[in-house]
Symmetry: C2
Subunit: 347 residues, 2 copies
């Protein structure tokens, strides 16, 4: 009987309820297309022209604190603003609503030349703590119903400043992608009174085919329905609705998981591996969200080398996401990679 993993097939995403196309036979396709330039990281710990370095004045006027750990401030070019007078368009097929909220910039370190994988676990844990603080303080605002924490790493992912940083966009509406995941978790919770994601990771731990790393509190795996070539997700073993549930020890275990996966990423092509990462968790809309099991996902575009990425274009935009190498092949590769960063290796 044919092994489904060797022929074209669709896989179902239990979180979003959508399907993806897998074409494992297609990895041998030659590549004559676009190659990006090699990624070069800054060598200086302080750059006087960087608007995120400590003490520098930003384009729009304000001056950064002389911070020595993490630092957050309101985005000078926020996509969403607080205190917009509410207004609605309902004119036939034209439907629109004002949106309010706050956008924040989260500096991971004062050191301009670092990235998460080359920061210490203690330093990454400080970032986790800042995320938790921001999540709680934004949640207190009754007009903010969703808090999206994310990082765009690398110019390939539209990041315009190499200083280690992420963002938070918080808003009054619950975004589409979050609603999809909420709906499927809720359905499962209502039927089984159990966490969909917890039951899922337990199955994956049993099968041990897509697990890349575990520690006492977290699992790092490539979900069965992953879209991006080396997509992964970090899931807490306990059923926690949001990052605010983590105690000190668990925060460190989370930081450790982040360090391990981002280090393996860098080691894969011996480059500063670009990705967008984000945390999906309970909305802050004041209603009960027992169904939510928080998780952090990494969507990295690189496919064959530091220069050749996967393009989510034509078919993917009009039909379904598509991948060539299977999730299991990607996991095998990631698993074997060392947890010591190539640039720090003494070999």
């Amino acid at each position: 009987k044919t092994d489904i993993n060797t022929v074209p097939h669709r896989r179902y995403n239990i979180l979003t309820g959508e399907w993806i196309l897998v074409s494992p036979q297609r990895t041998k396709r030659p590549w004559q297309g676009k190659r990006d330039k090699n990624i070069v990281l800054p060598q200086v710990v302080y750059d006087e022209n960087c608007y995120l370095c400590p003490g520098n004045t930003r384009a729009s006027g304000p001056k950064n604190a002389n911070y020595d750990s993490t630092y957050s401030f309101t985005n000078d070019f926020s996509a969403i603003l607080p205190e917009i007078e509410s207004s609605t368009v309902e004119n036939g097929f034209l439907i629109a609503k004002t949106e309010t909220g706050k956008c924040k910039v989260i500096c991971f370190s004062p050191n301009h030349s670092l990235t998460l994988p080359i920061m210490s676990i203690k330093e990454i844990a400080a970032v986790v703590r800042l995320w938790i603080q921001e999540y709680f303080s934004l949640a207190m605002d009754p007009t903010i119903n969703h808090v999206q924490i994310f990082e765009n790493k690398g110019a390939t992912m539209g990041c315009s400043n190499p200083h280690p940083h992420g963002q938070i966009w918080s808003q009054s509406s619950i975004p589409t992608e979050v609603l999809k995941k909420q709906q499927n978790q809720k359905k499962y919770w209502n039927t089984h009174n159990k966490s969909l994601l917890q039951d899922y990771i337990n199955q994956e731990l049993d099968l041990d085919k897509r697990i890349i790393y575990t520690n006492e509190h977290f699992v790092v795996l490539a979900p069965y329905w992953a879209i991006w070539p080396y997509e992964t997700m970090i899931v807490p073993k306990k059923h926690y609705a949001h990052i605010g549930c983590l105690n000190n020890e668990e925060q460190i275990a989370f930081a450790e998981s982040i360090k391990v996966i981002t280090t393996k990423y860098d080691n894969l092509f011996e480059t500063s591996f670009p990705y967008s990462a984000g945390i999906h968790q309970s909305p802050t809309d004041g209603t009960n969200h027992d169904e939510w099991h928080f998780h952090m996902s990494f969507y990295p575009p690189l496919l064959r080398s530091a220069e050749v990425k996967k393009f989510m274009v034509g078919y993917e935009m009009f039909a379904d996401p598509q991948r060539d190498i299977t999730v299991e092949q990607a996991v095998e590769t990631l698993k074997k990679l060392p947890v010591e960063h190539y640039s720090l290796s003494t070999k």
Copy 2:
């Protein structure tokens, strides 16, 4: 009262039922991020190393016909294959199904150096005719329930060969993006016994704020909910479920619309404007699809110049699509651009 178009707001997509975030106040944001190389088109009408040029032998063995108009063949590295023995995975949270179908390559012209905007209307009409032929012949296969016609234009959109060509991926399942649009068209059809998209374009024709071009049979507009900076769509005025409904005259009017919008695109930044374009139309699953109104959409990534594009990354991947310049600003710009191609202009 605040004009909603000047402040952050969400717009509703009547076709997919999803929302997008618009941040009109953010266009002044400085850009220090990634710039792509300038796009250079091939100068030769025939390239002996091109696997799409007439008479050449392709990497996998077969030889192209000595075609002098359009030409189609089965993709040598098809993502979907016919005649795969069917197989299913239903193991707890792991759900997968084999997928069958055919992938085709559609050469637009024997001339290696052309692109749609610099082809004649007659030549583009030949492409339209080939799409129709392929749609019908794939539809005849009872195992093929959906036919996705698309073009990835330019290296920025993952295209690895500048020879003018598009693709068709046809398959047994109906893709997610298509199902979303089908559901909303069906709901409207069942309630009003009218075409959602026809009523929509009639409202847009009345308002005349987002219309870029019209001829007797087609409307080219930027939909109210457009995501990409210069996203547009070509919609037939008549309620046609698929491109097979077009008569000769209408095929030429369609070709004319394609020529106009792609020429305006090239003229915008005086470059060969990259995009992914695709046709959404009635599935070929043998059931009645009165609800479907076919349309061709263009998703172009360029934002500020030939080198600076919009990135759909962090927030967009985890939450909702987001845009800065409003649809109406984009339309104003596109409307003013000449319909004569800049490279052919005698001025």
